[in-house]
């Protein structure tokens, strides 16, 4: 177990370094000029050139990257070229918003997906299973902004049960903020449930038809005893990897929902800073997102190994 941990922990900084280099090169190739974006089209070329010099944009690429990396590692993430605010607060603030939405959606997702998956698995090939599978499949395939739009039409504009924008006024209490997040979270849950439920259903069916369950039946155990003692645990453990994949999507893939519900998340920030070529913000967002993405991947693997005794200790092959 520890060997796996160390190997993966070492891989994270290496990959992040690769990502930051890739982002640096990409922004070099991207069109548009951040100095022009800052000063607007009516500023003279001379002032634009002057600003570019002051931002250090005309230094050689490797030099700029080295400067950025040195400062970044020491916690100085620099100030955003365009918004002139410290990048750290900006990115971490936006990330906080995304995490809140993702966590809220995840908390709704886990019980619903596990419940439906188990239900479908235990009634293998009966009507309940078919309905759950098909509905889960359909919702899982529909883009979140499509379901989002429909939710908006019905619940925000027509019934006015929930606010249309996911962004509460600053300083609002957690409950008010969550109330603003209901619609985006629901559209995310509808999207992710199918995928997780399918995994849980498959492992439930495998458990029900496994030799150890048949042996338990042969020993005279009743169906409910078998389900409670053997099926439950063996079917929910494999769901962790499916939940992990969805968690990664919830963090990084929210751009469409953020745009639709006007929510200042990290996805929208990434899109805007890439378009504006605001390098410090873009670098910070890409690295932070990458780090979070890989940590979740690792967390999923570790929990999977801890929960499943067979993988708990690295049994030599």
């Amino acid at each position: 177990m520890t060997r796996l941990l160390t190997r993966r922990l070492v891989a994270i900084p290496v990959t992040l370094l690769a990502v930051s280099v890739l982002v640096f090169l990409a922004t070099e190739v991207l069109p548009g000029d951040v100095a022009r974006t800052v000063l607007g089209r009516e500023a003279s070329d001379a002032s634009v050139a002057d600003l570019r010099r002051s931002l250090g944009l005309d230094e050689a690429l490797p030099v700029r990257y080295a400067h950025w990396l040195a400062r970044f590692v020491h916690g100085d993430w620099g100030t955003s070229y365009t918004l002139k605010v410290p990048v750290r607060e900006l990115v971490l603030g936006r990330l906080g918003n995304s995490l809140l939405l993702a966590a809220f959606a995840f908390l709704l997702l886990v019980p619903i997906a596990l419940g439906l998956g188990l239900l479908a698995g235990l009634h293998h090939d009966k009507p309940t299973d078919r309905v759950i599978s098909v509905v889960g499949l359909a919702l899982g395939a529909t883009p979140e902004f499509v379901t989002g739009v429909i939710l908006l039409v019905v619940f925000a504009v027509q019934l006015k049960w929930f606010p249309a924008s996911a962004q509460a006024n600053p300083g609002a209490g957690l409950l008010v903020r969550l109330d603003h997040l209901v619609l985006p979270a629901v559209s995310l849950v509808l999207l992710c449930t199918g995928y997780v439920a399918r995994h849980v259903r498959a492992s439930t069916v495998a458990a029900v038809e496994s030799p150890y369950v048949r042996a338990a039946e042969l020993r005279g155990a009743s169906r409910s005893q078998v389900v409670r003692r053997h099926v439950l645990r063996n079917s929910t453990v494999p769901a962790t990897s499916a939940l992990g994949v969805q968690a990664q999507f919830l963090i990084g893939g929210l751009v469409a929902v953020e745009l639709l519900f006007n929510y200042p998340g990290v996805g929208a920030l990434l899109l805007q800073s890439a378009i504006d070529k605001d390098l410090p913000t873009l670098q910070a967002a890409a690295v932070v997102l990458g780090l979070l993405y890989m940590l979740i991947m690792l967390l999923v693997d570790v929990t999977y190994r801890l929960l499943d005794p067979r993988l708990r200790r690295e049994v030599p092959a």
Binding site: A11, V14, T15, A18, V19, V23, A26, T27, V29, L30, D125, S133, V134, L137, A138, G140, A141, T142, P143, F145, V146, V149, I150, L152, V153, G194, Y195, R198, H199, A202, S203, V205, A206, E209, P238, A242, V245, Q248, F249, I251, G252, G253, L254, V255, A256, L259, L260, V266, G267, L270, L271, A274, I275, L282, A285, A286, L289, G290, Y293, M294
Partner: protein, 288 residues
């Protein structure tokens, strides 16, 4: 790729169900097939089906409600929503298969290589894949849009590349299983060249995985194409692309909801159709 995280709708390496003797009733396949078939027909013959020219603007007829003349009303430029919905089928059904094809070919080859060679080749490929998975897809999309301009090719490349890591992972997993088997080792001991091991020995036996990946990624590709145009990285403006239509018209949710609901429901129906077909195919393959 995070942000737009291109989301795997179904993981190919589902725990394959024990082959139950009873066959699944084919409703899902029939319904799915009709949906997909319907849209493919629309995509090919929309010029003859569409009552109006989807680009033709009628300034005096803006936001007309659904009526006899315009079954699904008109949008902000007075263009007929129903014709635009029909015309919108073609770009999606051009991009998704091409992107899936690109992802499949690249993913399968890389997956085979990683699985067959093993050792440092496998390690390097997997590390590169991790980096690609972590690299934000948005930056890649803007990069390609900037370099190649807004077009179908850009979307095909961006979506295709975004799926390569996912396809590679499942192909590599299937290859590793075959690689241990004696028939591959026998070929190795005979001195068969690497490409022959990959293409002649292992590839035919992982075709099930590749086929399942194909159907799952097709659904994802449509999903991703719609999302990319929704956030403004899609094709040139004016294209009747569904994702772009939803994005442009979502302001008129209240007073002209037909302009946004028709493309949205079109996307949903096509993607659901593909998902149903993929699911029944996968079940059939498991049963064999």
């Amino acid at each position: 790729m995070t942000a737009v995280q291109v989301r795997p709708v179904a993981v190919a390496t589902d725990v394959s169900l024990p082959p139950t003797a009873r066959r699944r009733r084919p409703i899902a396949l029939v319904v799915g097939g009709m949906l997909v078939g319907g849209w493919v027909l629309v995509a090919t013959f929309w010029p003859y089906l569409a009552p109006y020219d989807p680009q033709r603007q009628h300034p005096t007829l803006r936001f007309a409600a659904p009526s006899g003349a315009h079954w699904l009303g008109t949008d902000q430029f007075g263009r007929d929503t129903f014709s635009r919905m029909l015309a919108g089928a073609r770009p999606v059904l051009e991009i998704a298969p091409l992107a899936t094809g690109l992802a499949l070919i690249a993913g399968t080859l890389i997956g085979l290589l990683a699985g067959t060679c093993g050792r440092w080749v496998d390690e390097v490929i997997m590390r590169v894949l991790d980096a690609v998975l972590v690299f934000p897809a948005i930056i890649a999309s803007i990069l390609f849009v900037a370099m190649l301009g807004r077009s179908v090719t850009v979307l095909v490349i961006v979506i295709g590349l975004a799926f390569v890591p996912i396809v590679t992972r499942s192909v590599r997993a299937a290859t590793l299983v075959e690689r241990q088997k004696p028939y591959v080792e026998a070929a190795l001991l005979r001195g068969e060249p690497l490409w022959s091991l990959m293409l002649r020995e292992i590839l035919p036996n992982i075709s099930r995985t590749v086929l399942v990946e194909a159907t799952s990624r097709l659904g994802d590709a449509i999903f991703a194409a719609a999302t990319l145009s929704f956030i403004g990285l899609g094709q040139q403006p004016g294209s009747p692309d569904w994702g772009a239509s939803v994005s442009d018209n979502r302001a008129y949710l209240q007073n002209a909801p037909w302009t946004v609901l028709s493309p949205a429901l079109a996307i949903a129906s096509l993607v659901i159709g593909v998902a149903l077909v993929a699911d029944s195919l996968r079940a059939r393959l498991d049963a064999r």
